[in-house]
């Protein structure tokens, strides 16, 4: 056998549509040529003569390399299809051994050794790999128009004539202008990147009615994702409706770029080719264009992992992380369901009614329970801490500068541990904060109204104008309760008057705690004791004689 015999031409031909990063396209072309795969390159006519010259020079001459007739390809328009047709015709005409033609772009990268792909295709020599989805079943279309892509006229460029384009679509809709899809075509769509058998490609390119069909597709919208996808249905009987090229689209319908750090992810793909590669992703080009892929142990394909990766990114962009307020996520009031990151409990009056309520709650729930987080003097963090998770200060001034953010920060910084705190009308209540909590589905708010009077009754602090002070506390509590009883709330809310609550304190308390902590373990015997209320009725009577309005605690009787 002669040593300089021309190697056999591989049965896989590669068509490359290129318009930028030509040095990368040249590298990839050499990869295919080295494996004896014929390559036909289409270079966009927008590429300048000097760049084109440099590109040709870079590639040199090769018996298996051809350049096809150049078209000016604008996104979403017919010339992309025309360029593909011309290159494919050239491929079939000039390389007889080619059994499959792979359509790629200059920003694609092969993920496996060429030989692996040709062997794989040889075993499936009459199968066409093309994503071809009936338009009635393509909910994944991004960018608005779906069926109308086929039934309206699109003579304008969406990129350059956006306004006129939209106007024309509107006009056609309004006047009910519809194009007939030529029979027997059934509109199908799918990824632009396919791998078709010689027989099928020949069938499409030499179809007796091709001129008629081409005329129709020239005025459809994004024909590069529908021409071959539709035509293949009338000439092929062995379609595997999937693309051998991995492309992940973002929410605007643009392909996500792959970077160096995606190397391991790409190795897990079950596809043969990936796009789009960022031109400066040196590591990816070095790895996949070298013989690394042959030398390194194969990895089990896990395409679901790749899907998941990009789905998570899309979700972060559209939904974001609940309860996070930061420089690039600042939801408008009521534009989101969750205002905070995790459930929390607000207790009003419990601390005043029960002996060591916070201590007891902490012991039965294993939580670090705070005191009055919004106390006028300072934020009473658990254990009297001066600073808490996230480096949140207990300074009342810092807290009151932005109380909602104080709370949202605390909940975000302690995700995983339910926050519980006391809140009543002596605290720095503020109607913004009240609304924030009342409309937050993470909040559990439990109120025993009227308890603010108990510290006064017990003489825990003194004020000069008792009635005035009580009136002030009462007004604030009423405001809070009326917000809680409005129809806009989404928190889990319980409100009792002191008298109502005292009818069955243990039961109500136990109900409340179990709603927040289904696993809390405590028995009747463990319940905290109500602090003594002896003489409270007399105290109330005294206040009423001084002129306290009877509304307050009017149902209270022992």
């Amino acid at each position: 056998m002669s040593t300089d015999a021309r190697p056999e031409t591989a049965p896989l031909g590669v068509v490359m549509l290129c318009h930028t990063a030509l040095h990368r396209a040249a590298q990839v072309a050499r990869f295919w040529l080295a494996a004896n795969c014929p390559v036909v390159i289409h270079v966009d006519r927008a590429v300048g003569a000097d760049q084109m010259e440099a590109f040709r020079k870079d590639l040199g001459t090769h018996p298996l390399l051809r350049f096809s007739t150049r078209f000016r390809c604008e996104w979403g328009t017919w010339p992309i299809v025309a360029a593909t047709q011309a290159a494919a015709e050239q491929m079939l005409a000039e390389f007889e051994q080619v059994e499959h033609v792979l359509l790629t772009s200059g920003a694609c990268i092969p993920l496996r050794p060429a030989a692996e792909m040709t062997d794989w295709l040889a075993q499936r020599h009459d199968v066409d790999f093309i994503e071809s989805v009936s338009i009635g079943h393509a909910p994944w279309i991004k960018g608005g128009l779906s069926e109308e892509r086929f039934t309206l006229h699109f003579p304008l460029s969406w990129k350059r004539q956006k306004y006129a384009f939209d106007m024309l679509v509107d006009l056609q809709r309004r006047f009910g202008i519809r194009r007939e899809v030529p029979r027997p075509l059934q509109p199908h769509m799918g990824s632009q990147w396919w791998c078709l058998s010689r027989k099928t490609l020949q069938g499409i390119l030499t179809h007796p009615k091709r001129a008629r069909y081409d005329r129709y597709f020239k005025r459809t919208w994004i024909p590069d994702e529908s021409y071959f996808q539709t035509m293949v249905r009338i000439v092929s009987d062995r379609i595997e409706s999937r693309s051998l090229t991995l492309v992940k689209f973002d929410r605007n319908g643009r392909p996500n770029l792959f970077y160096d750090d995606h190397l391991q992810l790409l190795r897990r793909s079950d596809c043969f080719v990936a796009r789009k590669i960022w031109p400066d992703a040196h590591r990816l080009y070095d790895f996949f264009l070298s013989d690394h892929t042959t030398r390194e142990a194969p990895i089990d394909p896990q395409p679901a992992k790749i899907d998941r990766y990009f789905e998570l990114a899309a979700k972060q962009r559209t939904e974001g992380r609940a309860g996070l307020y930061m420089q690039s996520r600042f939801p408008l009031e009521n534009s989101v369901n969750s205002k905070t990151a995790a459930p929390y409990s607000v207790f009003c009056g419990f601390q005043q009614l029960f002996e060591n309520f916070d201590f007891w709650l902490g012991s039965v729930t294993n939580c670090r329970v705070h005191g009055h987080l919004f106390a006028p003097e300072k934020a009473e963090f658990h254990g009297g801490a001066t600073v808490y998770h996230g480096a949140i200060s207990n300074s009342a001034a810092l807290r009151d500068y932005n109380p909602r953010m104080f709370l949202a920060n605390l909940i975000w910084a302690t995700r995983g541990e339910r926050q519980c705190f006391s809140y009543n009308s002596r605290d720095n209540m503020n109607s913004e904060l009240n609304w924030f909590m009342a409309t937050d589905r993470n909040a559990q708010i439990s109120v025993i109204s009227g308890c603010f009077i108990l510290p006064l009754f017990r003489g825990e602090y003194k004020v000069d104008d008792v009635l005035g002070h009580i009136g002030w506390l009462q007004r604030r509590e009423q405001e809070f309760i009326s917000i809680l009883q409005s129809k806009w709330t989404s928190a889990d809310i319980r409100v009792w008057t002191l008298a109502e609550f005292l009818q069955s304190p243990q039961e109500f308390l136990s109900q409340t705690i179990r709603a927040a902590f289904p696993d809390a373990r405590f028995s009747e015997a463990d319940m905290p004791q109500s602090r003594p209320l002896d003489g409270f009725e007399e105290y109330l009577a005294q206040l009423r004689n001084l002129g306290l309005p009877p509304v307050l605690l009017q149902d209270y009787k022992r």
Binding site: T318, G390, A391, A397
Partner: protein
């Protein structure tokens, strides 16, 4: 106009802007007496892919000017005029950006600010700007994150060329206040260690931390107040208000090193900073009194992924 008038105060020292190629990312900086910080600063941004540095030296006398003259990728202007009267350097830089920045991605940073963006350990800054462009975005926000050491700031002197975050390794993770500025659409972010340690009684005076340092510049643009606000105001809309997250970064702020003590003194003396230098008055006092900015809930810096998980910055949908 204002920038143009103020530009008369600038004297070109070395102009190597002819070396700027189209597509280069340009950094703009005003500084004064920062010799010790410069080697690390320049190398940090060179490694990220900044193509050229355009710097205004406000009357340094520590060798900063001479050092910068010797750097091949630096163009230098000098001025002896008032930093305060130039709106804290904004006028000077606005002019340089107008003159040289149009069509480029421009990064406005101080010598103690270090940009961290999603995937900055594996993707150069060009990858980010390419992607932003593909998304039709003109601006990218990076909140200022004040870093500090554990113990007194003077305990570990900073050596030239050293990574400052080997010393100032700690930060406040979740004590930031955000408010919307209805006029210019930007968010007003305050908090962090400076609010916690120096503004416990005067939160409204705590410094603003919202910044938009990376902008695809056009001659129609201008910074209004430092890099906190831009015109036209659409450039300030770097956040999503429907619940989603835009991609964003962090400017790690290496202010609290031993160098700050001397700086605070000097700045107090010069009175050239914002609002009567009250910030520096507070540092001078605060750092002397307590010395330690660290608290038991301070967070130690690991990498950008940590900042992302903490929610200080976001990948958005840049996957």
């Amino acid at each position: 106009m204002r920038a143009l008038r103020k530009s008369l105060e600038l004297k070109s020292r070395v102009n190597r802007t002819a070396a700027i190629r189209s597509g280069d990312i340009l950094a703009f900086t005003t500084l004064r007496n920062e010799l010790v910080r410069l080697p690390y600063f320049l190398d940090y941004y060179r490694a990220q892919g900044v193509g050229h540095f355009l710097m205004v030296d406000n009357a340094s006398d520590d060798g900063t000017t001479e050092y910068l003259e010797g750097q091949k990728d630096v163009s230098l202007w000098v001025t002896g005029a008032s930093y305060k009267a130039s709106c804290f350097g904004v006028d000077w830089l606005n002019h340089l950006q107008w003159r040289y920045g149009a069509g480029h991605w421009t990064l406005v940073v101080d010598v103690d600010e270090f940009l961290v963006y999603p995937f900055c350990d594996t993707r150069p800054l060009h990858a980010l700007t390419d992607w932003l462009e593909s998304q039709g975005r003109k601006s990218f926000s990076a909140m200022l994150l004040d870093m500090y050491p554990k113990g007194p700031v003077t305990a570990h002197p900073y050596a030239s060329g050293q990574n400052p975050f080997e010393i100032a390794r700690w930060f406040d993770a979740c004590n930031y206040s955000l408010k919307r500025n209805p006029k210019l659409q930007n968010l007003w972010v305050q908090g962090g260690v400076r609010a916690r340690a120096f503004h416990g009684d005067s939160p409204e005076q705590a410094p603003a931390l919202n910044k938009t340092p990376l902008v695809h510049w056009s001659r129609k643009y201008a910074y209004v107040s430092s890099t906190h606000m831009l015109l036209p105001r659409g450039l300030n809309k770097v956040y999503d208000d429907g619940g989603g997250e835009q991609a964003s970064g962090v400017l790690m702020h290496a202010k609290f090193l031993d160098t700050i003590v001397a700086k605070a003194r000097e700045e107090l003396h010069r009175g050239q900073h914002y609002a009567g230098s009250r910030e520096y008055i507070a540092y001078d006092k605060g750092l002397q009194d307590q010395g330690d900015l660290w608290c038991s809930f301070s967070t130690e810096y690991i990498n950008w992924r940590q900042l992302e998980i903490l929610g200080l910055m976001s990948k958005g949908d840049w996957a």
